[in-house]
Symmetry: C3
Subunit: 128 residues, 3 copies
């Protein structure tokens, strides 16, 4: 399960990087805690970070379920697509939030495949 | 561990459905990213999604800990209660946020049992 | 893997406690759902809870990766540091949000060590 661990840790490093950018934006745009709004640019960084958290809660368990019951290398491959999709999501959201769709899809579709693949794989294994 | 995987994937599909409803509400009530407020109905969908994320971070690890150290079928059974409680939480929150209590309890209590059961089961196993 | 399970369940109980404080603050400061702002004190409790969720999504997978590929007792030890750092984060944030830095570091640094340690451990295992 090394490949799945490596992809998971890379996803956390990517997420950590997005979080560091929120911290930087908090300083730059002078948004004092506990506020999370008040400046459009800060809010963009903040929302990318939130949205990535919303994805990770699905991505990580589904990556492992798919990797265990279907195929570890395919799970890892879909994981790499997710990682790249998130980079595009980040860069496009910061530039213009209305352009975030493509990055959202490139990172979201692998998650959907991993979830349904993991579900079907586990169900087949259970009924055999 | 097939049953735990199946319940986990179903919880992610439920969560994904709630997320899709947030996306729909964003269009319908014309809340432009990065905004997450400005319309009461949108905020209801958004909060259900957030609250479900807050639950999933506990539910998934605790489901597995309980399933591994206590009982897999009981873990899965509590997981099904959680899944149903979340549906009630969603429907009641959208109708009237002040009525969300019952759904919150039906999904929250299984989580508490899973966490403490998993903790006690692992501690007993460790000291034996 | 009992130690990792025990630390994970303790982290979830800590998080659950922070969530209960948000619920209490919601009542006390009369912030009606779906609102999450409108009172500075409520927002402090709310942000501690959110920020802990943001940490848990990294902490739990990284704890297990490090525990599996590097060392279980060291992972558990770093986990205890994380747990204590979160308590300091909570108490200092509630008192004065600008003083949250030390608690954030004491809980954040163990996460970074766990992530990179888990990544390196898995990579070494993969290439051997």
């Amino acid at each position: 399960m090394e490949l799945l661990t490596i992809v998971t840790m890379l996803a956390l490093i990517e997420y950590f990087y997005f979080g560091a950018k929120v911290g930087g934006a908090r300083e730059k745009y002078e948004i004092k805690a506990p506020l999370t709004s008040g400046n459009e640019m800060f809010e963009r960084y903040y929302r990318v970070h939130c949205n990535t958290l919303e994805q990770l809660i699905s991505f990580i368990p589904a990556l492992w379920a798919f990797g265990y019951y279907v195929s570890q290398p395919y799970a890892a491959g879909l994981g790499v697509v997710y990682l790249l999709g998130r980079i595009l999501y980040f860069t496009s959201y910061i530039k213009d939030p209305s352009s975030r769709g493509v990055g959202a899809m490139i990172s979201g579709i692998p998650c959907i495949i991993l979830i349904f693949g993991g579900l079907i794989g586990a169900a087949i294994s259970y009924f055999n």
